[in-house]
Amino acid sequence: MGVDKKVVGDITVCSLGGEININTSPELRRSLDGIIGQSAKKIVLDLDGVTYIDSSGLATLIEVLRRIKREGGTLHLCRLPDKVRSLFEMTKLTKLFQIYDAEETACANF
């Protein structure tokens, strides 16, 4: 599991990669903690590189969303691989997150 961060204007884009599972979710949480802690208000998580995500990974993303909202920020997700998207659909999370097909549209819609 890896997190690559870049800043585009006032938007922080994090590209997630690899497996997000029970073992790696705590590491993802710590990485995203750091980014939220830097007062980023507009955050995009690009999930294109995610090869697997389990319910601990989904729960971690939900918790991140909650915290960003509490801090007055906004979270967008983009480029969900098909398997990840079907998990989001099964767990009804497509209604909870703002999801975009491309990074550009995710950034343009803040």
């Binding site: 949480r29 601990s56 729960a59 918790e63």
Partner: protein, 266 residues
């Protein structure tokens, strides 16, 4: 692993208890993503076979390979690691009465992971939604019905996102409608989450609702296996008797009178 790959391979499995051979050369494979049903009457060895698959019993001879590892030869730590990829729904649901629904589902996550309690709380809510019990997290098992207990047991079985779920008589003691609900959940979870399911049951309605493949056990042997239509049209008299539920046939439930008379004279 890709769909269709063998995930559990039972080879020439033999097990005896007190000189009585309970499993007598079982060969059986469960493939990734499928629902394999092991059916048979009481005492045919199906629960013993299940206990070998989850590493509770060790074979006298033969082997059980799970995800490429012979589980009977593993050290305890390695076996524990493999067991993390298992979920298990027991006949009785096996919930702890003094804990709430949420606490029951939390148990495996708190015990086996380093996840933050806030994350676990969210996961439990997601699992309860998957089994159709959102909002029931604060109730105790004594406050819910038998069917709901089974669903909580199922939510706990999927708590760790297992690759394989073992079900021991999942519909036993349930009315037909609740049994159908449990069957539907088993099918939905298997297909949606690509979980391999191994189900031990003697509920024939359930067998034909959930199985991708069926193996019938009789006296510790696999006497027939195939898809549900193949099993339904089998000419094997053991299978036919079992499906039709006939008291008379090759499956004997009654000891002979001679044994009884001899026993009286001992």
């Amino acid at each position: 692993m890709n769909a269709g790959e063998p995930i559990i391979v039972v080879k020439d499995l033999v097990k005896s208890f007190d000189g009585r051979r309970v499993l007598d050369g079982i060969n059986l494979t469960a493939y990734k993503g499928e629902t394999l049903v092991i059916m048979g009457g009481s005492g045919c060895g199906k629960s013993t076979l299940l206990r070998h698959m989850i590493g509770v019993h060790k074979p006298d001879s033969g082997s059980v390979t799970v995800k490429g590892k012979n589980i009977s030869s593993l050290q305890e730590e390695e076996l524990d690691e493999i067991k993390k990829s298992f979920g298990m729904l027991f006949q009785s649901a096996a919930l702890l009465d003094y804990l709430t629904v949420e606490e029951n589902i939390t148990l495996p996550l708190a015990e086996h992971t380093d996840l933050d309690p806030d994350i676990i709380k969210i996961m439990v809510k997601m699992k309860l939604e998957l089994v159709g019990l959102s909002g029931f997290q604060d109730l105790k098992p004594s406050q819910i019905s038998g069917g709901m207990k089974k669903r909580v047991g199922l939510a706990r079985a999927i708590a760790m996102d297992p690759e394989i779920i073992f079900y021991d008589e999942p519909t036993a003691g349930l009315d037909p409608i609740v049994a159908a609900v449990i069957d539907k959940l088993i099918v939905d979870l298997s297909k949606k989450l690509m979980i391999t399911s191994v189900v031990v049951t003697h509920d024939m309605q359930s067998v034909f609702r959930i199985a991708d493949r069926v193996a019938m056990l009789y006296k510790g042997k696999v006497v027939e296996h195939g898809t549900p239509p193949e099993i339904r049209s089998s000419d094997n008299p053991l299978v036919k008797q079992f499906i039709e539920g006939n008291p008379d046939g090759p499956v004997s439930f009654i000891q002979s009178g001679d044994d009884y008379l001899k026993d009286l004279m001992k």
